[in-house]
């Protein structure tokens, strides 16, 4: 099918975009990479009458080192993130998550801000931001807000962004020096949305887990911070016993729905298995061995 009619607005500065969103908040949608919005428009599942296209605002595309954290402009393409040595070194979980997103031609256009604003329950970035305690910067004509990831994701395709707000920047805390990270998932075909996935960042102190951050995608209406499994792992050695306790804790914490691709029970099982694999891989990369 083809999209319904719309007006195409093309701001070249953030300020201009905010004014346009203020003027048309009720009927306007932001167009970022278009890799989620345009399919929905092609099938007329979305029929915005105004699109505010951010693709000609160069100021929204950057990856900056700000000491404790990386600041990533909302329009930074997924492909630019996967090619960034800075991201790979400072925020390896973001790098690993990116490799699991779709396919190269989709990552050529898709943006980090678009993925996070879209909040698909199976998407990797929302879970990654939740695991890493990232902060979203949202702007509107009314001012600027910093929204911690834990308060940003509300449910299926739903966030706490207001209709006139634009997500402009994502601040991702850098990984501790002796940490390792891994994002693992199961999907029907590489690049498809995950049936279930888990991102882990683990810091080791000798044989024992000094810090651990875990979040899952695909197993609930939004990303899930796996606090129960984190509690099992913290200050413990990664023995088989502890790992299987963490696996069980993750499975018990999530509440997935079943669909044509996988039953609820299978997804619940996967949440545990992915947790165990992600922690093992992350710890291996931290030099903790398993």
């Amino acid at each position: 099918m083809k999209p319904a009619l719309f007006s195409h607005l093309v701001p070249t500065t953030v300020q201009e975009a905010l004014e346009m969103m203020g003027d048309h908040a009720a009927e306007a949608r932001v167009l970022a990479g278009g890799q989620s919005l345009v399919p929905m428009m092609n099938f007329r599942l979305a029929r915005p009458s105004v699109l505010v296209d951010l693709n000609r605002i160069p100021d929204l595309s950057y990856i900056d080192d700000r000491g404790d954290y990386l600041a990533v402009g909302a329009m930074t393409r997924e492909r630019a993130i996967e090619n960034s040595a800075l991201v790979r070194d400072a925020c390896p979980l973001v790098y690993d998550a990116t490799l699991n997103i779709a396919h190269l031609p989709i990552r050529s256009r898709g943006t980090i801000g678009g993925s996070i604003s879209n909040a698909d329950p199976a998407a990797e970035y929302p879970a990654t931001m939740l695991a890493l305690d990232a902060v979203m910067i949202a702007k509107s004509g009314r001012g600027e807000r910093s929204i911690p990831a834990a308060e940003f994701f509300e449910g299926v395709l739903s966030t706490t962004l207001n209709s006139d707000e634009i997500l402009t920047e994502i601040r991702v805390p850098k990984a501790p020096a002796d940490s390792g990270a891994a994002f693992v998932e199961i999907c029907r075909r590489h690049g498809d949305f995950a049936l279930a996935g888990v991102g882990a960042q683990v810091t080791m102190d000798g044989d024992s887990v000094a810090a651990v951050q875990l979040a899952a995608c695909g197993v609930g209406p939004g990303p899930v911070r796996l606090t129960e499994a984190e509690a099992v792992l913290r200050d413990n050695s990664l023995t088989n016993e502890i790992l299987s306790q963490a696996e069980q804790a993750a499975s018990a914490q999530v509440d997935p729905d079943g669909d044509a691709h996988a039953s609820a029970a299978y997804r619940r099982k996967l949440a545990g298995v992915m947790t165990k694999r992600a922690v093992q891989q992350a710890a291996g990369r931290a030099g903790g061995g398993v």
Partner: protein
């Protein structure tokens, strides 16, 4: 909304202008407005890869971009691969390895593979399988496609085959 605006893109080195409503997809602009029908349209939601073209140096889905967004861009399509009536090396390898049957997926496969090989100089067979999973083929079973892309990657990067 229904106003058609002028869109100028450089396609395969030639500057071409056409008219497009904002909602016209780049794929439809190439096919219906510029009459470059080598770019195919399958699913219109980014899944099949048949519409893949190279925009400003990177492969993208032309069904997920509006033509007006491509104004001023440089685009490579399947029509630009052959030079002086001579097939592109990757096209020859697709023939050699029987990497096509009906040919519907082939334009997207070729543009996907060219971007993949150009942007990575150290491809394993696994990388090629992952990279080419971006496009669907309902005929060949993929073996020929993977073999053709592997031989091409070896040629471009001056290596015997792939690791």
């Amino acid at each position: 909304m229904t106003d058609r605006t002028s869109v100028t893109i450089t396609v395969n080195g030639i500057s071409l202008t056409g008219l497009a409503e904002p909602r016209m997809l780049l794929a439809d602009f190439l096919r219906d407005e510029l009459r470059l029908t080598g770019t195919h349209v399958g699913c219109e939601h980014g899944v099949c890869g048949a519409c893949t073209v190279i925009v400003d140096g990177v492969a993208v889905r032309s069904c997920l971009m509006f033509a007006v967004q491509a104004d001023g861009a440089e685009i490579r399509t399947i029509e630009g691969l052959a030079t002086d009536g001579e097939m592109h090396p990757l096209q020859k390898l697709f023939a050699k390895h029987r990497a096509l049957q009906c040919g519907f997926c082939t334009p997207g496969m070729l543009m996907t593979a060219i971007d993949l090989v150009d942007s990575t100089d150290d491809l394993t067979e696994e990388d090629i399988r992952v990279g080419m999973s971006a496009a669907l083929c309902r005929c060949t079973g993929y073996e020929g496609i993977v073999n053709a892309v592997a031989e091409y990657a070896g040629k471009v990067h001056g290596k015997e085959g792939v690791r």
